[in-house]
Symmetry: C2
Subunit: 185 residues, 2 copies
Protein backbone atom coordinates (compact mmCIF):
# COMPACT_ATOMS: atom_id res chain seq x y z
CA UNK A 1 0.00 0.00 0.00
CA UNK A 2 1.64 3.25 -1.13
CA UNK A 3 1.14 6.41 0.84
CA UNK A 4 0.06 9.11 -1.60
CA UNK A 5 2.29 12.19 -1.37
CA UNK A 6 -0.55 14.57 -0.55
CA UNK A 7 -0.02 18.31 -0.64
CA UNK A 8 0.20 19.41 2.97
CA UNK A 9 -3.25 20.41 4.10
CA UNK A 10 -1.99 23.81 5.29
CA UNK A 11 -0.75 24.75 1.81
CA UNK A 12 -4.02 23.64 0.25
CA UNK A 13 -6.05 25.75 2.67
CA UNK A 14 -3.96 28.85 1.99
CA UNK A 15 -4.18 28.33 -1.78
CA UNK A 16 -7.97 28.00 -1.71
CA UNK A 17 -8.22 31.03 0.59
CA UNK A 18 -6.10 33.09 -1.79
CA UNK A 19 -8.25 32.10 -4.77
CA UNK A 20 -11.34 33.06 -2.78
CA UNK A 21 -9.89 36.51 -2.04
CA UNK A 22 -8.78 37.10 -5.64
CA UNK A 23 -12.18 36.09 -6.95
CA UNK A 24 -14.56 37.70 -4.46
CA UNK A 25 -12.49 40.38 -2.72
CA UNK A 26 -10.92 40.65 0.74
CA UNK A 27 -14.24 40.96 2.57
CA UNK A 28 -15.42 37.63 1.19
CA UNK A 29 -12.78 35.81 3.22
CA UNK A 30 -14.43 34.25 6.25
CA UNK A 31 -13.41 31.13 8.09
CA UNK A 32 -16.82 29.59 7.47
CA UNK A 33 -17.04 30.32 3.76
CA UNK A 34 -13.50 29.07 3.31
CA UNK A 35 -14.35 25.90 5.23
CA UNK A 36 -17.34 25.35 2.96
CA UNK A 37 -15.06 25.70 -0.08
CA UNK A 38 -12.67 23.20 1.48
CA UNK A 39 -15.38 20.77 2.52
CA UNK A 40 -14.40 20.70 6.20
CA UNK A 41 -15.74 22.08 9.46
CA UNK A 42 -14.60 25.69 9.86
CA UNK A 43 -12.85 24.86 13.10
CA UNK A 44 -10.44 22.55 11.23
CA UNK A 45 -8.69 25.63 9.79
CA UNK A 46 -7.55 26.60 13.27
CA UNK A 47 -5.66 23.35 13.60
CA UNK A 48 -3.68 23.78 10.37
CA UNK A 49 -3.04 27.50 10.00
CA UNK A 50 -4.40 29.16 13.13
CA UNK A 51 -6.79 32.11 13.35
CA UNK A 52 -7.77 34.68 10.76
CA UNK A 53 -4.65 36.80 11.24
CA UNK A 54 -2.33 33.86 10.63
CA UNK A 55 -4.38 32.83 7.60
CA UNK A 56 -4.15 36.31 6.08
CA UNK A 57 -0.44 36.36 6.90
CA UNK A 58 0.07 33.11 4.99
CA UNK A 59 -1.86 34.44 1.99
CA UNK A 60 0.28 37.58 1.93
CA UNK A 61 3.41 35.41 2.17
CA UNK A 62 2.38 33.43 -0.89
CA UNK A 63 1.59 36.68 -2.74
CA UNK A 64 5.00 38.17 -1.98
CA UNK A 65 6.71 34.96 -3.06
CA UNK A 66 4.92 35.11 -6.42
CA UNK A 67 5.64 38.78 -7.01
CA UNK A 68 7.91 38.69 -10.04
CA UNK A 69 11.34 40.18 -10.36
CA UNK A 70 11.15 43.82 -11.39
CA UNK A 71 12.43 44.31 -14.96
CA UNK A 72 13.16 47.92 -15.82
CA UNK A 73 12.55 48.78 -19.47
CA UNK A 74 14.05 51.52 -21.62
CA UNK A 75 17.49 52.97 -22.30
CA UNK A 76 17.76 56.05 -20.12
CA UNK A 77 17.60 55.85 -16.30
CA UNK A 78 14.61 58.18 -16.53
CA UNK A 79 12.49 55.81 -18.62
CA UNK A 80 13.69 52.87 -16.54
CA UNK A 81 12.62 54.54 -13.30
CA UNK A 82 9.30 55.35 -14.89
CA UNK A 83 8.78 51.76 -16.01
CA UNK A 84 9.42 50.50 -12.48
CA UNK A 85 6.90 52.92 -10.99
CA UNK A 86 4.31 51.93 -13.59
CA UNK A 87 4.98 48.22 -13.00
CA UNK A 88 4.56 48.58 -9.26
CA UNK A 89 1.33 50.44 -9.81
CA UNK A 90 0.01 47.95 -12.35
CA UNK A 91 0.89 44.85 -10.34
CA UNK A 92 -0.72 46.29 -7.23
CA UNK A 93 -3.89 47.32 -9.03
CA UNK A 94 -4.18 43.91 -10.68
CA UNK A 95 -4.02 42.27 -7.26
CA UNK A 96 -5.68 44.97 -5.22
CA UNK A 97 -7.50 42.42 -3.05
CA UNK A 98 -4.18 40.93 -1.96
CA UNK A 99 -2.62 44.37 -1.53
CA UNK A 100 -5.54 45.23 0.71
CA UNK A 101 -4.75 42.18 2.84
CA UNK A 102 -1.08 43.19 3.00
CA UNK A 103 -2.11 46.59 4.35
CA UNK A 104 -4.39 44.89 6.85
CA UNK A 105 -1.29 43.08 8.09
CA UNK A 106 0.83 46.22 8.21
CA UNK A 107 3.15 44.69 5.61
CA UNK A 108 2.79 47.15 2.75
CA UNK A 109 6.50 47.96 2.62
CA UNK A 110 7.50 44.30 2.33
CA UNK A 111 5.44 44.19 -0.85
CA UNK A 112 7.61 46.73 -2.62
CA UNK A 113 10.99 45.47 -1.49
CA UNK A 114 12.01 44.15 -4.96
CA UNK A 115 10.93 47.39 -6.61
CA UNK A 116 12.87 49.30 -3.96
CA UNK A 117 16.08 47.48 -4.86
CA UNK A 118 15.57 47.93 -8.60
CA UNK A 119 14.80 51.62 -8.15
CA UNK A 120 17.89 52.20 -6.02
CA UNK A 121 20.00 50.89 -8.91
CA UNK A 122 18.40 53.20 -11.46
CA UNK A 123 18.52 56.24 -9.22
CA UNK A 124 22.24 55.72 -8.81
CA UNK A 125 22.62 55.32 -12.57
CA UNK A 126 20.85 58.67 -12.86
CA UNK A 127 23.70 60.20 -10.88
CA UNK A 128 22.13 60.54 -7.43
CA UNK A 129 24.00 59.51 -4.28
CA UNK A 130 23.43 59.18 -0.56
CA UNK A 131 20.50 60.97 1.03
CA UNK A 132 19.28 62.47 -2.25
CA UNK A 133 19.19 59.01 -3.83
CA UNK A 134 17.28 57.50 -0.90
CA UNK A 135 14.83 60.38 -1.02
CA UNK A 136 14.25 59.91 -4.74
CA UNK A 137 13.54 56.20 -4.31
CA UNK A 138 11.08 56.87 -1.50
CA UNK A 139 9.32 59.60 -3.43
CA UNK A 140 8.71 57.39 -6.45
CA UNK A 141 7.63 54.35 -4.39
CA UNK A 142 5.29 56.26 -2.09
CA UNK A 143 3.79 58.10 -5.02
CA UNK A 144 2.93 54.78 -6.63
CA UNK A 145 1.67 53.46 -3.29
CA UNK A 146 -0.52 56.49 -2.74
CA UNK A 147 -2.29 56.06 -6.04
CA UNK A 148 -2.65 52.33 -5.53
CA UNK A 149 -4.53 52.94 -2.28
CA UNK A 150 -6.59 55.71 -3.85
CA UNK A 151 -7.64 53.52 -6.78
CA UNK A 152 -8.33 50.58 -4.49
CA UNK A 153 -10.52 52.77 -2.30
CA UNK A 154 -12.35 54.19 -5.31
CA UNK A 155 -12.96 50.81 -6.91
CA UNK A 156 -13.82 48.92 -3.75
CA UNK A 157 -16.46 51.45 -2.82
CA UNK A 158 -18.27 51.76 -6.12
CA UNK A 159 -16.97 55.14 -7.14
CA UNK A 160 -17.49 56.00 -10.80
CA UNK A 161 -15.26 54.61 -13.53
CA UNK A 162 -14.48 58.19 -14.45
CA UNK A 163 -12.89 58.80 -11.04
CA UNK A 164 -10.66 55.76 -11.41
CA UNK A 165 -9.57 56.80 -14.90
CA UNK A 166 -8.86 60.31 -13.63
CA UNK A 167 -6.81 58.94 -10.78
CA UNK A 168 -4.69 56.94 -13.19
CA UNK A 169 -4.01 59.95 -15.37
CA UNK A 170 -3.13 62.12 -12.40
CA UNK A 171 -0.71 59.44 -11.25
CA UNK A 172 1.21 59.53 -14.50
CA UNK A 173 1.12 63.34 -14.53
CA UNK A 174 2.50 63.53 -11.01
CA UNK A 175 5.09 60.88 -11.82
CA UNK A 176 6.27 62.93 -14.82
CA UNK A 177 6.51 66.04 -12.67
CA UNK A 178 8.53 64.23 -10.01
CA UNK A 179 10.90 62.68 -12.55
CA UNK A 180 11.32 66.04 -14.31
CA UNK A 181 12.34 67.61 -11.05
CA UNK A 182 14.75 64.76 -10.33
CA UNK A 183 16.47 65.31 -13.67
CA UNK A 184 16.65 69.04 -13.13
CA UNK A 185 19.00 68.59 -10.20
Amino acid sequence: MTTTATQPERARIVAVARRLVERDGPDALSMRKLAADLGVAHTAIYWHVGGRDELVGAIVDSFIADLGEVRPRGRSPRTRMESIALDVHRQAVEHRALVSLAFEQGRATALWQPAHVALAREVEAAGLRGAAAARAVQTILYLAGAFVTLEAALEEHAETRAAVALSRRVFSDALEAVLDQLEGK
Copy 2:
Protein backbone atom coordinates in the same frame (compact mmCIF):
# COMPACT_ATOMS: atom_id res chain seq x y z
CA MET B 1 -46.69 71.99 32.01
CA THR B 2 -44.27 73.08 29.29
CA THR B 3 -43.19 70.65 26.61
CA THR B 4 -39.40 70.66 26.54
CA ALA B 5 -38.05 71.44 23.06
CA THR B 6 -36.14 68.18 22.71
CA GLN B 7 -33.55 67.71 19.98
CA PRO B 8 -35.09 65.39 17.40
CA GLU B 9 -34.11 61.86 18.27
CA ARG B 10 -32.69 61.24 14.81
CA ALA B 11 -30.22 64.12 15.12
CA ARG B 12 -29.17 62.93 18.55
CA ILE B 13 -28.51 59.41 17.28
CA VAL B 14 -26.39 60.68 14.39
CA ALA B 15 -24.41 63.00 16.67
CA VAL B 16 -23.63 60.21 19.14
CA ALA B 17 -22.72 57.89 16.27
CA ARG B 18 -20.35 60.48 14.84
CA ARG B 19 -18.66 60.99 18.20
CA LEU B 20 -18.28 57.23 18.51
CA VAL B 21 -16.59 57.03 15.10
CA GLU B 22 -14.28 59.97 15.78
CA ARG B 23 -13.25 58.52 19.12
CA ASP B 24 -12.89 54.80 18.34
CA GLY B 25 -12.55 54.64 14.56
CA PRO B 26 -14.91 53.53 11.78
CA ASP B 27 -14.84 49.85 12.71
CA ALA B 28 -16.13 50.63 16.19
CA LEU B 29 -19.47 51.74 14.76
CA SER B 30 -21.99 48.98 15.28
CA MET B 31 -25.73 49.30 15.73
CA ARG B 32 -25.52 47.51 19.06
CA LYS B 33 -22.64 49.52 20.53
CA LEU B 34 -24.31 52.73 19.40
CA ALA B 35 -27.58 51.62 20.98
CA ALA B 36 -25.76 50.94 24.24
CA ASP B 37 -24.30 54.47 24.11
CA LEU B 38 -27.78 55.85 23.48
CA GLY B 39 -29.44 53.75 26.15
CA VAL B 40 -32.01 52.19 23.83
CA ALA B 41 -32.58 48.82 22.20
CA HIS B 42 -30.49 48.55 19.04
CA THR B 43 -33.58 48.03 16.94
CA ALA B 44 -34.82 51.51 17.84
CA ILE B 45 -32.18 53.00 15.52
CA TYR B 46 -33.92 51.45 12.55
CA TRP B 47 -37.05 53.38 13.31
CA HIS B 48 -35.34 56.80 13.38
CA VAL B 49 -32.54 56.62 10.81
CA GLY B 50 -32.83 53.27 9.08
CA GLY B 51 -30.09 50.66 8.55
CA ARG B 52 -26.32 50.98 8.80
CA ASP B 53 -25.94 52.49 5.32
CA GLU B 54 -28.40 55.28 6.07
CA LEU B 55 -26.74 55.90 9.41
CA VAL B 56 -23.32 56.21 7.81
CA GLY B 57 -24.84 58.44 5.14
CA ALA B 58 -26.22 60.76 7.79
CA ILE B 59 -22.85 60.91 9.58
CA VAL B 60 -21.11 61.81 6.32
CA ASP B 61 -23.76 64.48 5.69
CA SER B 62 -23.06 66.10 9.03
CA PHE B 63 -19.32 65.92 8.37
CA ILE B 64 -19.64 67.62 4.97
CA ALA B 65 -21.85 70.31 6.50
CA ASP B 66 -19.19 71.06 9.12
CA LEU B 67 -16.33 71.13 6.65
CA GLY B 68 -15.25 74.76 6.79
CA GLU B 69 -14.93 77.15 3.92
CA VAL B 70 -11.54 76.81 2.24
CA ARG B 71 -9.38 79.89 2.90
CA PRO B 72 -6.39 80.13 0.57
CA ARG B 73 -3.37 81.80 2.16
CA GLY B 74 -0.45 83.64 0.56
CA ARG B 75 0.04 86.29 -2.11
CA SER B 76 0.92 84.40 -5.29
CA PRO B 77 -1.51 81.92 -6.90
CA ARG B 78 1.21 79.34 -6.44
CA THR B 79 1.34 79.61 -2.67
CA ARG B 80 -2.45 79.86 -2.53
CA MET B 81 -2.87 76.63 -4.51
CA GLU B 82 -0.35 75.00 -2.24
CA SER B 83 -2.18 76.14 0.88
CA ILE B 84 -5.43 74.68 -0.41
CA ALA B 85 -3.82 71.32 -1.13
CA LEU B 86 -2.23 71.26 2.31
CA ASP B 87 -5.52 72.24 3.96
CA VAL B 88 -7.41 69.48 2.18
CA HIS B 89 -4.78 67.00 3.24
CA ARG B 90 -4.68 68.21 6.84
CA GLN B 91 -8.46 68.30 7.29
CA ALA B 92 -8.82 64.82 5.87
CA VAL B 93 -6.05 63.37 8.01
CA GLU B 94 -7.49 64.99 11.13
CA HIS B 95 -10.84 63.33 10.43
CA ARG B 96 -9.60 60.18 8.74
CA ALA B 97 -12.28 58.06 10.40
CA LEU B 98 -15.00 60.19 8.80
CA VAL B 99 -13.17 60.26 5.47
CA SER B 100 -13.05 56.50 5.61
CA LEU B 101 -16.83 56.44 6.04
CA ALA B 102 -17.23 58.82 3.10
CA PHE B 103 -15.24 56.43 0.92
CA GLU B 104 -17.36 53.55 2.18
CA GLN B 105 -20.34 55.48 0.84
CA GLY B 106 -18.70 56.26 -2.50
CA ARG B 107 -18.92 59.96 -1.68
CA ALA B 108 -15.26 60.92 -1.64
CA THR B 109 -15.65 63.56 -4.34
CA ALA B 110 -18.45 65.34 -2.50
CA LEU B 111 -16.02 65.83 0.36
CA TRP B 112 -13.70 67.98 -1.70
CA GLN B 113 -16.27 70.07 -3.48
CA PRO B 114 -15.45 73.31 -1.61
CA ALA B 115 -11.72 72.81 -2.22
CA HIS B 116 -12.50 72.14 -5.86
CA VAL B 117 -14.21 75.49 -6.22
CA ALA B 118 -11.45 77.37 -4.40
CA LEU B 119 -8.77 75.67 -6.48
CA ALA B 120 -10.52 76.50 -9.75
CA ARG B 121 -10.36 80.17 -8.79
CA GLU B 122 -6.64 80.07 -8.06
CA VAL B 123 -5.77 78.05 -11.14
CA GLU B 124 -7.48 80.66 -13.25
CA ALA B 125 -5.61 83.42 -11.41
CA ALA B 126 -2.44 81.54 -12.33
CA GLY B 127 -3.34 82.05 -15.97
CA LEU B 128 -4.71 78.64 -16.91
CA ARG B 129 -7.93 78.24 -18.90
CA GLY B 130 -10.27 75.54 -20.14
CA ALA B 131 -9.06 71.96 -20.26
CA ALA B 132 -5.62 72.81 -18.89
CA ALA B 133 -7.20 74.51 -15.88
CA ALA B 134 -9.53 71.59 -15.19
CA ARG B 135 -6.62 69.20 -15.47
CA ALA B 136 -4.55 71.21 -13.01
CA VAL B 137 -7.35 71.26 -10.46
CA GLN B 138 -7.86 67.52 -10.75
CA THR B 139 -4.17 66.79 -10.47
CA ILE B 140 -3.79 68.76 -7.24
CA LEU B 141 -6.97 67.36 -5.68
CA TYR B 142 -6.29 63.75 -6.56
CA LEU B 143 -2.71 64.06 -5.40
CA ALA B 144 -3.95 65.19 -2.00
CA GLY B 145 -6.60 62.45 -2.02
CA ALA B 146 -4.05 59.78 -2.87
CA PHE B 147 -1.85 60.66 0.07
CA VAL B 148 -4.82 60.92 2.40
CA THR B 149 -5.83 57.34 1.58
CA LEU B 150 -2.22 56.17 1.84
CA GLU B 151 -1.77 57.73 5.26
CA ALA B 152 -5.13 56.47 6.44
CA ALA B 153 -4.22 52.95 5.34
CA LEU B 154 -0.81 53.16 7.00
CA GLU B 155 -2.17 54.51 10.27
CA GLU B 156 -5.24 52.32 10.47
CA HIS B 157 -3.18 49.18 10.03
CA ALA B 158 -0.44 49.86 12.54
CA GLU B 159 2.31 50.68 10.10
CA THR B 160 5.33 52.38 11.64
CA ARG B 161 5.32 56.08 12.47
CA ALA B 162 8.31 56.41 10.18
CA ALA B 163 6.25 55.30 7.18
CA VAL B 164 3.57 57.90 7.91
CA ALA B 165 6.15 60.67 8.30
CA LEU B 166 7.78 59.60 5.04
CA SER B 167 4.44 59.62 3.27
CA ARG B 168 3.80 63.17 4.42
CA ARG B 169 7.18 64.37 3.16
CA VAL B 170 6.73 62.64 -0.17
CA PHE B 171 3.35 64.32 -0.51
CA SER B 172 4.83 67.79 -0.16
CA ASP B 173 7.72 66.87 -2.49
CA ALA B 174 5.31 65.63 -5.15
CA LEU B 175 3.10 68.67 -4.67
CA GLU B 176 6.09 70.96 -5.21
CA ALA B 177 7.03 69.08 -8.37
CA VAL B 178 3.50 69.31 -9.74
CA LEU B 179 3.21 73.02 -8.98
CA ASP B 180 6.64 73.69 -10.49
CA GLN B 181 5.54 72.02 -13.68
CA LEU B 182 2.31 74.02 -13.70
CA GLU B 183 4.23 77.28 -13.48
CA GLY B 184 6.62 76.22 -16.20
CA LYS B 185 3.81 76.23 -18.73
